[in-house]
């Protein structure tokens, strides 16, 4: 069953990469075989957890031995405007004895305890490698528990060894499609309702876009999954338009919502001025096409014009400071395109970008805009990255936490633009935040000092 699901998400027709493949290639799926001894990154369980854990009022229970949750909980900066239950780490912490006897009874007991103590609107149960190997049927346990306890208990069947983090994202999306979306009717429904998919509200980023949407009259009916609430997501099928933010990860959800409930989707981004304006414009246009008041378009244009003017004024002060400064962008590729646009708007020069997780179209876009000389790396080795930075081929590196020490050990300024960061970079305000952070880092007096040799050398 899980194998069918995996095959299905690999066959995603909404995915541009997939469309370009032959039938035979498509069957092989998109996960590249991982090289033992040289693989990095998370597993499918990791991906599933990342995609769903931001649903704030749900209890997230990890069925497995301690490593899966014990080493990983409380490590993402996704924020909630209310319930904090999502931050609580629940695990069955399977012991040797459980593995001999099977963990199903313990799992049921754990679900029951959580429901009794915390009374959540739903419990999400994550399958991991070990119980999958011994044959614990979490789907059956969840079904039984839901019936017994009168609360939705959702099985998330994405044990680590089935594949990469990206596959886990997709399986999480499938879980929502199979068990959650469409199971409830919303209390309120308006022609201005949108559902956002693949926005995790890291460092509260969603909240930088939301006030503008409020002003235009666009109502976020649900966000999958940043600052999400179970009941809102269960009613996401009544949204009028969906926006797919992280298209690589959750396009399957957008496409299937269109297929099942006729909700059109578009791929958008909240990063960078141009992308942000495009997103607001597209959203309003699509809502109007589906019956929202056409005045929404004017409101959108007014907000865009005002914000663009304001942001361009606010970015002015950075331009002289940024002139001649070169940035090495290493985001894993997902945000590369929109980040490039954003940074150039502030006067920075991008010397190269990783494109490991970028789509073919993203790469084409980059090439077209940046010319053939622009560096794009599918897989830049840390050693080479270190050399580039040490030899001052860039003035600052923007990346995720994983590569921060490559930059810092080379004594080159570094800024976190990934999941663990504490600053919000989305929307118009976000781009100013980003520039402010870059400026603060670049102009810090430590850089001159730390590069000095000891006086006796």
């Amino acid at each position: 069953m899980l194998a069918d699901k995996i095959q299905e998400v690999f066959n995603e027709p909404g995915c541009g990469v997939n469309q370009a493949k032959t039938t035979k290639e498509r069957k092989k799926g998109c996960s590249k075989p991982l090289k033992p001894g040289a693989a990095a990154g998370g597993c499918a369980y990791d991906g599933a957890m990342i995609a769903l854990q931001p649903i704030a009022d749900v209890a997230h229970l990890v069925h497995g031995p301690i490593a899966c949750l014990g080493n990983s909980w409380d490590n993402r900066g996704t924020r909630s405007s209310g319930s904090q239950l999502y931050r609580t780490g629940f695990t069955t912490d399977l012991s040797e004895l459980d593995i001999v006897h099977g963990g199903e009874k313990k799992l049921y007991k754990a679900i029951k305890e959580i429901v009794q103590q915390h009374n959540p609107p739903a419990v999400f149960v994550y399958q991991t490698c070990v119980p999958a190997m011994i044959g614990d049927d979490i789907e059956a346990v969840c079904k039984y528990a839901a019936k017994k306890l009168g609360v939705p208990v959702i099985p998330v069947n994405a044990p680590g060894f089935v594949g990469s983090k990206n596959l886990g994202n997709k399986l999480a999306g499938e879980t929502l499609l199979d068990h959650v979306i469409g199971t409830r009717e919303p209390e309120v429904s308006t022609p201005n309702d949108v559902c956002i998919i693949g926005e995790y509200n890291l460092a509260g980023e969603l909240w930088l876009a939301k006030p503008l949407m409020d002003e235009i009259g666009i109502r976020i009916q649900s966000c999958i999954s940043g600052d999400g609430r179970y009941n809102e997501i269960a009613a996401a099928h009544r949204a009028r338009v969906t926006m797919v933010v992280c298209s690589q990860a959750l396009i399957n959800v957008g496409r299937k919502m269109e297929e099942r409930w006729g909700i059109p989707y578009f791929e958008g981004s909240f990063y960078g001025v141009t992308d942000m304006s495009d997103t607001l414009r597209t959203m309003a246009t699509m809502l109007v096409q589906r019956g929202a008041d056409p005045a929404m378009l004017n409101r959108a244009e007014a907000v865009i014009a005002r914000e663009e003017a304001a942001v361009s004024k606010r970015l002015e002060r950075y331009k002289p400071r940024f002139t001649g400064k070169r940035v090495l962008l290493f985001t894993g590729g997902v945000k590369s395109w929109s980040m490039v646009t954003a940074l150039e708007e502030a006067g920075l020069t991008i010397v190269g970008s990783s494109t490991k997780k970028s789509t073919k179209e993203d790469k084409e876009k980059l090439k077209k805009r940046k010319g053939e000389e622009f560096h794009m790396w599918d897989d830049l080795k840390p050693k080479e990255m270190y050399r580039m930075l040490r030899d001052s081929e860039a003035d600052i590196m923007l990346s995720g936490g994983r590569s921060q020490f490559i930059s810092l050990k080379a004594k080159v300024p570094w800024l976190d633009v990934n999941q663990e960061r504490h600053h919000a970079y989305a929307g118009y305000d976000g781009i100013v935040n980003l520039c402010e952070e870059i400026d603060k880092t670049l102009s810090n007096p430590i850089w001159r000092q730390v590069r000095l040799p000891a006086p006796w050398e």
Partner: protein, 471 residues
């Protein structure tokens, strides 16, 4: 303590806000104390990714850690090929001086034959004979962080230590448990070297995890004990065993080398430090250096100055077993009332721990028992429970991702003991002295996340639970 409530039966099925970390992760940390080594997890890649992120956040260092990247098929059919490929790839790319293999829940559930794997690898790859390998079984579902760490130290010693014909005068072995930070290890080396002794410390995290600035980027650890040093442990005069968890590694070393062991269950506190220093004086035949004598005086003075603020304070401590024993024992030395001691997993040392309640539990248990207490001592994961209970949290142990310098905190020896005493006492001193200024308004509101947790408190003893140290 008239009555100690030991191991109250917990029938919970769901561990909530776990204190426990996995055994392979502890194993990886031990390998990181070996020079130019690369730990490898035999499991699916998530096992490695999570462990790596945790250590990166704690130490704020690049953490070399690799994976055999087991997939569904290799998990069912057996992972020897993945293991072999990983070892060869790592050897080619990184040329480490040691690869340390830890198993995970995935490969242990399958029941992979690790010893057999090692033999097969050696047989099939004679050209890699010079590659040092240590294979250690560390199932995720058995024991925890400390157990994995201890098993790897034992594995390192068993793999490399050799008996020697002759003793080297002044050479001593030190087996350092995971309750010691890299900063602690550095302090211990300083103390030992102060007696003119030459220590071989296994593992030595102070050389690899205390903020290195490499001239070239390498994907291995940046320092630590060399394999050759471990080989020469048989020539030492004595082995200093630091922590109950090191007993088995010590026994293994003694069995192989006949070097006698001296055991120290903790190095924090006046009497504990005295025992250590006295032993070093005897081994070296030298007088105690003036520096240590001054430090001892300073600790005694600090105890006199600081005891006012710690007497009868109610605390709950939740740490890895040996660390738990060290800290609770020291707190009792200082007159603190340790209401509860919580360990993430069972361990022999827990029999020696004295507290109102001694139990194996998680942060939700800590939260429940800390109600009405003055302080919680635990890792950064304790912050949510502390906020809920309205009790301030003093961070110790691992992971400590929301403070800088967590790897360099020193709490051993006279100096470290004094600094820990001051840090704890200052929380209460600050609460007393700062109370009037920032609690002038009776209808105060506390909204700081993770600081006070919004608990109401008026004065007197309760004032101590504010924890808004203002520092």
């Amino acid at each position: 303590m008239t009555h100690i409530h030991r191991f109250p039966a917990s029938s919970k099925a769901a561990s909530t806000n776990p204190l426990k970390m996995s055994a392979p992760l502890g194993g990886a940390l031990a390998f990181l104390g070996m020079d130019r080594s690369l730990p490898l997890f035999h499991g699916s890649q998530g096992c490695t990714a999570f462990g790596m992120v945790l250590l990166v956040r704690h130490f704020r260092e690049a953490i070399p850690l690799q994976t055999t990247a087991m997939n569904q098929v290799s998990t069912i059919l057996g992972g020897y090929e993945n293991l072999e490929e990983a070892l060869k790839t790592i050897y080619e790319r990184n040329k480490p001086s040691l690869i340390g293999v830890c198993t995970t829940g995935v490969t242990e559930t399958k029941g992979e034959d690790l010893e057999g794997h090692l033999k097969t690898f050696r047989m099939r790859n004679p050209d890699l004979n010079d590659l040092n390998l240590v294979f250690v079984s560390t199932p995720d579902f058995n024991g925890g962080f400390e157990d994995g760490y201890a098993a790897v130290v034992q594995g390192i010693v068993e793999s490399f230590a050799e008996p020697a014909e002759q003793r080297v005068k002044g050479q001593v072995n030190i087996l350092a448990g995971c309750h010691l930070t890299p900063g602690d290890v550095e302090e211990i080396r300083d103390i030992v070297e102060g007696f003119g002794l030459t220590p071989i410390i296994v593992p030595d995290l102070s050389l690899s995890m205390s903020g290195r600035q490499p001239t070239e980027f390498t994907a291995t650890s940046l320092g630590g004990t060399t394999v050759d040093q471990v080989r020469s442990m048989g020539a030492s005069e004595v082995t200093l065993v630091l922590g109950e968890q090191m007993r088995r590694a010590a026994a293994a070393l003694e069995l192989k080398t006949d070097v006698p062991s001296l055991f120290f269950d903790r190095l924090t506190g006046l009497e504990a430090s005295d025992r250590f220093v006295k032993a070093l004086a005897e081994i070296s035949g030298r007088p105690v250096p003036a520096r240590l004598r001054r430090q001892r005086e300073s600790l005694v003075d600090g105890m006199l100055d600081g005891h006012f603020f710690l007497t009868r304070k109610k605390m709950v401590v939740a740490l890895e077993p040996d660390h738990l024993f060290t800290v609770t024992s020291y707190l009792q030395d200082l007159g603190v009332d340790v209401v509860a001691a919580v360990a993430p997993q069972q361990a022999a040392v827990l029999e020696k721990v004295k507290a109102g309640t001694v139990m194996v539990g998680d942060h939700s248990d800590v939260e429940a028992m800390a109600k009405g207490c003055d302080l919680i001592v635990s890792n950064s994961h304790g912050r949510m429970g502390a906020a809920h209970a309205g009790v301030p949290l003093y961070r110790m142990g691992l992971p400590m991702f929301d403070r800088l310098g967590s790897g360099l905190v020193v709490t051993v020896g006279y100096r470290g003991s004094r600094d820990l005493l001051f840090a704890l006492a200052n929380i209460f001193l600050a609460a007393e002295t700062d109370h009037d200024s920032h609690h002038g308004n009776q209808s105060h509101e506390h909204g700081h996340d993770g600081c006070c947790g919004g608990s109401g408190h008026g004065g007197g003893r309760e004032g101590g639970s504010c924890g808004c140290t203002g520092a």
